[in-house]
Symmetry: C2
């Protein structure tokens, strides 16, 4: 099993505070030591940092912690290998292009007896059930919307619900998916979120004795949603996403 | 215009020495200040570091310099923007998946009046002539070899020569392309290479007063080819790749 972290905001925001607590779960406060990765969208461009080392001791994670990349959409993942060996090609998040946009995907859970018949459009490079699921999702989207433009949020949400319901009987299927504008969060078992907006207050990490007063680093119009497998702070109210629910976040808040 | 750096070896090798000289051309010894990127294959997996800052002052470049990632295939690029604004989505190298392998591409040159009619399989995310060329190359390969397996090196080379000859009349078309096993180097104007193998000797950078004695850091069976727009060292003999020539490197040496 693994853990997920996502961010969706209405202004480019750094994720240093949340990442500090999250990365501790990769070998320090929890057992997710089989690699980690993080993707930052900056407009349609995307940077993906991957490492097959534990995040708690990773040189690349140290860079990410100290280098405040400002992004409106972030997806991160720490891995406890279940399907597929510990290697770079099996490290989440995964990236592909569809409709002239990059799409980023990370999965928490295990899919059993999951061998979808994929056409030759999107092919997994590694051996994980997760990358197979990502390829099947993209094939489903491309087949349903064969045009050149990104469909509406409503259309995408409906299509993602349908394909998720096909995949989820195979096991646990929590995932985060983003194209740099929208962030989809699908809960199968464990996924929580919080929306931070004015009036901003102080937050304290669960995994490290570190606090931040968000009112010092924000403007009143900022709004940022953080999505995580387990709550990252111990003095804020996180909302559990109901099992078997797909949510979509836009400009820092969930939309119907 | 931009500059290219490639490495292909028969053992995982770090590129720290060559990168030290190369990155200096991104704002210190040369004018390529509009972003840079580097891709490291580790087996079929790939890490791509991208930055829209000048490489000579980049925090991410500092990490790459100090963190000896060992790889058998590397492609790096420093950018002087011609087509397309300075932004992450226009930063080389570019990545896509084909036949279940990642492919990495970087281009040096300018293509004028270059608007290939692309089908909907590979679409550019940014605005560069370079990413359009990459998409056209992949579409050509996929159309010519529609199966699920990577074709032979001879078949790939023939197909890449054909598509390169279609694109190159549009301007200058030096490129590096790799799938983690093969490294293709196509020269239009400027591209040089060197093969380092036993007996190893000392090398001294052109751009920085730094030397390395490769006999201290290698074993007798190691073999590494370095490909660069301009030679990176001033005490070794580099071979210029003849204009309008496509070479392919495997296990650290060119093959016919």
């Amino acid at each position: 099993m693994c853990q997920l972290l996502g961010m969706n905001g209405n202004v480019p925001t750094d994720i240093c505070f949340s990442f500090e607590g999250f990365r501790a779960r990769g070998g320090k406060t929890d057992e997710h030591v089989d690699g980690w990765g993080i993707a930052f969208f900056e407009g349609p461009g995307c940077r993906v940092f991957l490492d097959d080392q534990a995040s708690s001791g990773s040189t690349v994670a140290e860079l990410v912690r100290n280098y405040p990349i400002r992004s409106t959409n972030v997806i991160a993942h720490i891995r406890k290998a279940s399907h597929g060996k510990v290697s770079l090609e099996n490290t989440h998040p995964f990236q592909r292009e569809l409709w002239g946009r990059y799409w980023i995907f990370a999965h928490n859970g295990e899919l059993e007896n999951f061998n979808p018949s994929l056409s030759n459009i999107y092919r997994p490079v590694g051996e994980t059930d997760s990358e197979r699921a990502f390829c099947q999702i993209l094939e489903h989207l491309k087949a349903r919307f064969p045009g050149k433009d990104v469909p509406s949020t409503q259309q995408l949400t409906a299509a993602l619900k349908d394909i998720s319901e096909k995949i989820s009987p195979h096991g646990i299927f929590n995932f985060l998916l983003s194209n740099g504008e929208l962030l989809f969060a699908r809960s199968s078992t464990d996924l929580h979120y919080i929306v931070r907006k004015a009036p901003f207050a102080e937050a304290h990490l669960v995994d490290e004795d570190i606090s931040i007063n968000f009112s010092d680093v924000t403007t009143p119009s900022d709004r940022v949603a953080i999505i995580a497998t387990k709550p990252l702070t111990d003095n804020e109210t996180w909302t559990r996403i109901a099992p078997d629910t797909l949510m979509v976040f836009v400009d820092g808040e969930p939309v119907d």
